[in-house]
């Protein structure tokens, strides 16, 4: 191959993967990366929701997917997990297909997607995270219930284990969901708006758990709506607005330019976010 072709290819590559991930620990081999998304396009009816998304996630990181309303953040997660049909593209987990890697993936759905009137207790819900380990037709034994209780303990909800889920507050429900995902003992976690509509205590509890997961070498990908808290909570960010605007370590990608490209000219929001970056970098 001539040099001109090689450089041409590099040019093409960068054109397609609008984002070449500048990970803190660069990963050469996509098989090492927990998630690699290639040319993902999703369309509802006739309108595209995601358009040519390319992304390679670093391992052991807390990754936030941020972007304006309707930018396709939830859709991105759902299409990775096969919950939404895709028009084109491919998603691999550690170089394997979703079906093969399934046992290593955990998921926290959006709180609104669940029937809260359902007759189960918080403990029952957390036990659901263990079902795959228990297997078909076998009952939930004390071992699993204890494991589930331990997960509830980690999110500070052990006292409310017997409460019916509908009787919990929004933040408590979110913590139950988090505990259930912990009970799955996965290596990669997808969370859809875990901080939406929760109280301060829950927010703290969730972020502590996320950091704990990171320290155990796991990867967490969260859809996040609150721009100013991104630098504090996450170390990587994907700026999404139908396509990936940019992705990488938060302090690199959170530039006014990139945020403007993602959110347009909402200056108040931008200045807040940039302030937050500055603050976070001072803290560090």
């Amino acid at each position: 191959m001539t040099t001109s072709t090689t450089s041409a290819m590099r040019n093409v590559e960068s054109d397609f993967s609008t984002t070449v991930v500048k990970a803190a620990k660069p990963i050469a081999d996509p098989r090492q990366s927990p998630v690699v998304i290639r040319a993902l396009t999703v369309a509802y009816h006739r309108k595209p929701v995601l358009w040519d998304v390319n992304y390679q996630a670093p391992s052991d990181a807390l990754i936030a997917i941020v972007g304006p309303n309707g930018a396709g953040k939830s859709t991105l997660i759902k299409s990775c997990l096969g919950l939404v049909p895709t028009a084109s593209g491919q998603v691999t987990f550690w170089g394997k297909s979703y079906a093969q890697a399934r046992s290593r993936i955990g998921y926290v759905p959006q709180r609104e997607s669940v029937d809260w009137d359902f007759p189960v207790s918080a403990l029952d819900v957390v036990c659901m995270g263990r079902y795959r380990k228990i297997g078909w037709c076998r009952p939930v034994t004390k071992v699993h219930r204890d494991a589930a209780l331990a997960c509830l303990e980690r999110v500070g909800m052990r006292d409310l284990a017997k409460r019916q889920i509908g009787q919990l507050s929004g933040g408590q429900q979110q913590r139950v969901f988090l505990a259930r995902t912990l009970a799955q003992e996965a290596d990669l976690y997808f969370m859809d708006e875990p901080f939406a509509g929760v109280d301060a205590a829950t927010e703290r509890a969730i972020i502590e758990v996320l950091r704990e997961l990171k320290s155990q070498g796991k990867t967490v990908i969260c859809v996040h709506h609150d721009l100013p808290t991104v630098p504090e909570y996450f170390d990587h960010a994907v700026l999404l607005n139908m396509r990936v605007v940019t992705a990488g370590p938060v302090n690199e990608v959170f530039t006014p330019e990139n945020l403007r490209k993602t959110y347009g000219g909402r200056l108040t929001l931008l200045s807040e976010a940039v302030d937050a970056v500055t603050r976070a970098s001072i803290v560090r």
Binding site: T5, M9, A39, R46, K47, W51
Partner: protein, 456 residues
């Protein structure tokens, strides 16, 4: 009057008319039930009127149509109210609430019929499930001239006149309250804030549905009532996106179901020398067949259209990707590329599909393993890349817009305004946006489009 016509008028005309009237009445009202996701309310009402009928019968002691109609109507409205009570006060989901209410009422009705039979009262409730269309004989006047007269009218069976009246009433109801019904179906809260009480409209509709159910099922049975409440409206919904057209089409479908159903129950078996089969059941079957056909062949929402559209979309994505990649390579000086090379660039995309399509359209030429853009291919590719890069700058410049808005705007951008405001020469990555100097006509003929809006 010839014998054939006379015998048609005597034997078949009235059942046919009655069935069609019932179908049209139910089909009209069904549009709003289907829209408001209340289809099964028709099911519930038509089952639950049984105790009302029986009680009215036992109280009045003879088969007087008026008390029975009243009893059934009261039972129908009671069903609506009870379902609401169970749903709201008992916090039971709507489907289950309907199931509870109508099955209890129906059981009550069955038990009451049994008790009535103990008193040697012959209560023939056949009609509740599949009607008694076949029993509608009429002895019309021999002379055509006598047809249009009051005395002839009086000899018509009651079911026919009741249903004709009911049909006119539903027509009037819908034409008078069209606007209110539409807004109440689409957005009940908006309707209420605008002064059209959505709850009131709901009850009005339910009362009319109950009345239509009661009027119809004596003639055609409750199963046909359910089929006609849902079938025509559902078929029409598959064929059009506008409510007015949906109503018009549903009426036509209802007429087809009524007449064709009756014909296939009586005339068609007769051709083969068989006995006629149950007409009401046959009409329900015809409704099912119509709906199936509509689902498969509907030009706008049908399965075939959807599959074709999907295939075209993924084909275009594949083609666009291939042409785009070749163009970008050409930009950097590589005139041709091998398939393996393209495979590296286009990871996760379907290359084979795009290649074969491009070859067939003469957009690329192939030398062994190498692909090269032809002249027309180059033009098409330039359009694609230009669009892609315009898009990117557009998204960046107009990022504050919602993506859904952007689509419509961008669609216009592509077809009307050739440049987005500001006329960028390079895209956000600093690469040149191909100028649109070439004749757009020919580029458009290739119809290579991104999956933005895929017009059929």
């Amino acid at each position: 009057m010839s014998d054939a016509i006379y015998s048609f008028v005597r034997v078949d005309m009235l059942p046919l008319l009655t069935a069609t009237f019932a179908a049209v009445t139910c089909g009209l009202l069904g549009n709003f039930l289907v829209l408001r996701r209340l289809s099964l309310m028709g099911d519930a009402i038509s089952h639950a009127v049984l105790p009302g009928l029986v009680i009215a019968f036992l109280v009045s002691g003879f088969r007087n149509p008026l008390p029975m109609f009243l009893g059934a109507a009261i039972a129908g409205i009671a069903t609506v109210v009870l379902v609401e009570v169970v749903q709201k006060l008992g916090r039971v989901e709507p489907g289950a609430a309907m199931g509870v209410v109508f099955s209890i009422l129906f059981a009550l009705g069955v038990l009451l019929i049994e008790q009535a039979s103990a008193r040697h009262v012959d209560l023939d409730a056949d009609c509740v499930l599949h009607g008694q269309l076949e029993t509608l004989f009429w002895f019309p006047p021999q002379d055509w001239g006598e047809f249009i007269s009051w005395s002839t009218f009086l000899t018509l069976p009651r079911q026919v006149t009741t249903l004709a009246g009911m049909m006119i009433a539903s027509f009037m109801f819908i034409s008078i309250f069209y606007k209110e019904l539409r807004i109440a179906a689409f957005d009940p809260e908006l309707a209420t804030t605008q002064g059209f009480h959505a709850g009131l409209m709901h009850y009005l509709l339910m009362i009319i549905v109950a009345a239509a159910t009661v009027a119809s099922f004596e003639a055609v049975g409750s199963i046909l009532v359910i089929a006609m409440l849902i079938g025509p409206a559902a078929t029409a919904r598959m064929l059009t996106g506008s409510l007015l057209w949906q109503i018009i089409i549903s009426v036509m479908v209802a007429i087809i179901c009524g007449s064709f159903g009756y014909a296939s129950a009586t005339a068609i078996p007769a051709v083969f020398g068989l006995d006629s089969v149950n007409a009401a059941g046959m009409m329900a079957v015809v409704a099912g067949v119509t709906l199936t056909l509509a689902i498969i062949f509907s030009p706008q929402f049908g399965m075939i259209t959807k599959t074709l559209r999907w295939r075209k979309l993924s084909m275009q994505i594949a083609l666009d990707d291939l042409l785009g990649a070749l163009y970008r390579l050409a930009e950097s000086g590589a005139e041709s590329a091998s398939i393996t090379q393209l495979a590296t660039i286009l990871q996760g995309r379907e290359i084979a599909k795009g290649t074969s399509q491009a070859l067939r359209r003469g957009l690329v030429s192939r030398f062994g393993d190498m692909l090269k853009l032809t002249t027309s291919g180059h033009k098409a590719a330039a359009t694609i890349v230009r669009r892609h890069r315009l898009w990117e700058s557009y998204l960046v410049d107009r990022a504050e817009m919602l993506p859904t808005e952007v689509h419509d705007q961008a669609e216009q951008l592509e077809h009307v305004a050739l440049q987005p405001p500001g006329e960028p020469v390079t895209d956000p990555h600093g690469r040149p946006i191909p100028r649109d100097r070439e004749d757009r006509e020919r580029a458009n003929q290739t119809e290579t489009k991104r999956p933005k809006k895929n017009k059929p």
